[in-house]
């Protein structure tokens, strides 16, 4: 059974089509990179999967269930982690939010929850910051807290929206290495612009620009880029092909020169 199954999905906002005729089947334990231009509908797609938005047409099934029912087994790391900097909350309390279950309001198992939350922080190497106020942490540290919060939900599916925007290059490689470890038992979808970094770690690529193209290989070809980004490849990205292995330096073709 697929972890995510989307059939003939349309989504419009203010009478403008954001996503059109989207079909997608993502198998369990997949590690998908979602790429595409800004405003192409990547974040909208994540919010539809989370059940925060409802499609105009078509169906979404997460692990065989509609999103609203399945959302408690989805871990979500939002794009904007800088919201509410002065809010009176500590790192551990942010992570505990991942254990929130409104159905068990009266019988909260706070000791177990706290242990789970601390374990999630430990996994992200953030134990020392558990009782620090969230606003005093750096961007990268806050990112780790938010990922810990997503892990604390014990997710089957992990969605990350541009997670590396506040991490330096070395940190990014470590970060994707970590995601690859999580991928051993969690299906992962990550929105990213770092085409190069991504192709070394992910298993498949989904290109979103109103339409969706899914490729079950971690390859980004020039054709894909051309269809996804409505301008010439040189403007978008001077690289023609993204390959596995050691980092390469790929130069663009000379003009008017046939190979």
């Amino acid at each position: 059974m697929s972890m995510i199954e989307i059939n003939n999905l349309d989504f419009t906002y203010n009478r403008e089509a954001i996503l059109k005729d989207v079909n997608l089947a993502i198998p369990e334990k997949d590690f998908v990179a979602i790429i595409g231009p800004n405003g192409g509908g990547k974040t909208t797609l994540l919010k539809l999967i989370l059940g925060l938005l409802t499609p105009d047409k078509g169906t979404i099934l997460i692990d065989g269930k509609p999103p609203q029912e399945a959302s408690s087994c989805i871990g979500y790391v939002p794009q904007d982690i800088h919201l509410n900097q002065s809010f009176p909350i500590t790192a551990i309390d942010v992570v505990l939010m991942g254990k929130l279950d409104p159905k068990q309001r009266l019988s909260r198992r706070s000791a177990t929850n706290r242990r789970d939350a601390l374990a999630a922080l430990e996994r992200m190497d953030m134990t020392a910051y558990a009782d620090k106020k969230i606003g005093t942490l750096s961007g990268g540290q806050r990112q780790r807290v938010f990922i810990a919060r997503a892990l604390a939900t014990k997710p089957k599916l992990l969605l990350l929206d541009e997670p590396t925007s506040s991490i330096d290059t070395k940190g990014q490689a470590d970060f994707y290495q970590l995601l690859r470890e999580f991928n051993q038992d969690i299906t992962i979808l990550v929105i990213s612009h770092d085409l190069l970094v991504i192709s070394r770690y992910v298993k498949s690529v989904a290109c979103v620009n109103k339409k969706l193209h899914y490729h079950d290989q971690a390859e980004i070809t020039g054709d894909m880029l051309k269809t996804m980004y409505p301008s010439t490849d040189e403007e978008v990205c001077p690289v023609e092909l993204v390959a596995h292995g050691l980092p390469h330096r790929v130069l663009s073709e000379h003009e008017n020169q046939s190979p």
Binding site: S71, Y76, P78, F87, P88, I89, D93, M97, D131
Partner: protein
């Protein structure tokens, strides 16, 4: 101050001020972190429409004021929930309309009328015992409600999207919060006046927010700070024969400005 306590009206004023501090400390914390200060001001002013209705139609005072402000509050809540960024304009309109509506109705009422000044500044020195019990009841009901929904309110206030994903009934809870705000604001206004309610609702939570590590800490510290302002203000007003509500607000305002200056200096020291 000690000899002042032999007067019952001073004891009642003190009790009313302390109860208002606790209620405003709890609700004010939620108001400040959810950034609905403007909406609270809107509710408090629009409530005057209810006073107008009560005097014109000779309806009982409390039910009509609460009913009218709940109506106005729900209107504001639905606008602000749907379009967060444009809500302030609509709230401003309801704010002004409610107030004008009330004043016109009071004008049209023949005979002796409600005094606008007592609505603005209250009459903390003339609080009857029955009002104290009423406020205590409201305070306890609110503490129970906030305790029951604490985790949900925390998640909603910090990260509404994530709260929704976890299954928190965010929309329902938002309307409950605004409804609770409307009821408490109206009841406390009746005792200490609109201006003091707005001051107690915003100044202590804002000062405490930077130092508190949780909503609970922020609520407790805001209540204590509000209580300190109230006691100092009442003492000043007794000693120097000043208007009590205004004295309390002035104390709060001076301490607030002082804390801003201290923060600036600390920030400057940090940088060098």
């Amino acid at each position: 101050m000690i000899e002042a306590l032999q007067f019952e009206f001073i004891r009642n004023a003190l009790a009313a001020g302390l109860l208002a501090s606790v209620i405003c400390g709890i609700i004010g914390t939620l108001v400040v972190v959810n950034r609905i200060v403007f909406l609270s001001g809107g509710i408090a002013h629009a409530a005057y429409g209810g006073i107008g209705l009560a005097s014109f139609f000779k309806w009982p005072y409390l039910p009509s004021t609460i009913g009218f402000s709940l109506f106005a509050a729900m209107l504001m809540a639905s606008v602000s929930y749907k379009m967060k960024h444009r809500a302030d304009t609509v709230i401003g309109v309801i704010w002004a309309l409610g107030m004008a509506f009330g004043i016109i109705l009071v004008d049209l009422t023949p005979g002796y009328n409600v005094d606008l000044m007592s609505y603005l500044f209250g009459s903390i020195l003339a609080v009857p015992r029955s009002d104290l019990f009423f406020m205590a009841f409201i305070g306890i009901a609110m503490i129970l409600l906030v305790t029951y929904y604490y985790q949900d309110l925390l998640a909603m206030s910090y990260d509404e999207e994530f709260a929704k994903i976890r299954g928190v009934p965010v929309k329902k809870l938002y309307f409950v919060l605004i409804g609770m705000l409307a009821v408490t604001v109206v009841l406390v206004i009746q005792v200490v006046g609109l201006i003091l309610v707005i001051a107690l609702l915003t100044i202590p939570p804002f000062m405490v927010e930077k130092y508190a590590k949780s909503l609970f800490q922020m609520m407790v510290a805001s209540s204590l700070l509000g209580a300190a302002f109230t006691v100092t203000g009442l003492w000043l007003s007794y000693q120097y024969n000043l208007t009590s509500g205004a004295s309390i607000i002035l104390v709060a305002g001076v301490v607030f400005l002082f804390s801003l200056i201290v923060d600036k200096i600390r920030f400057a020291c940090h940088r060098t």
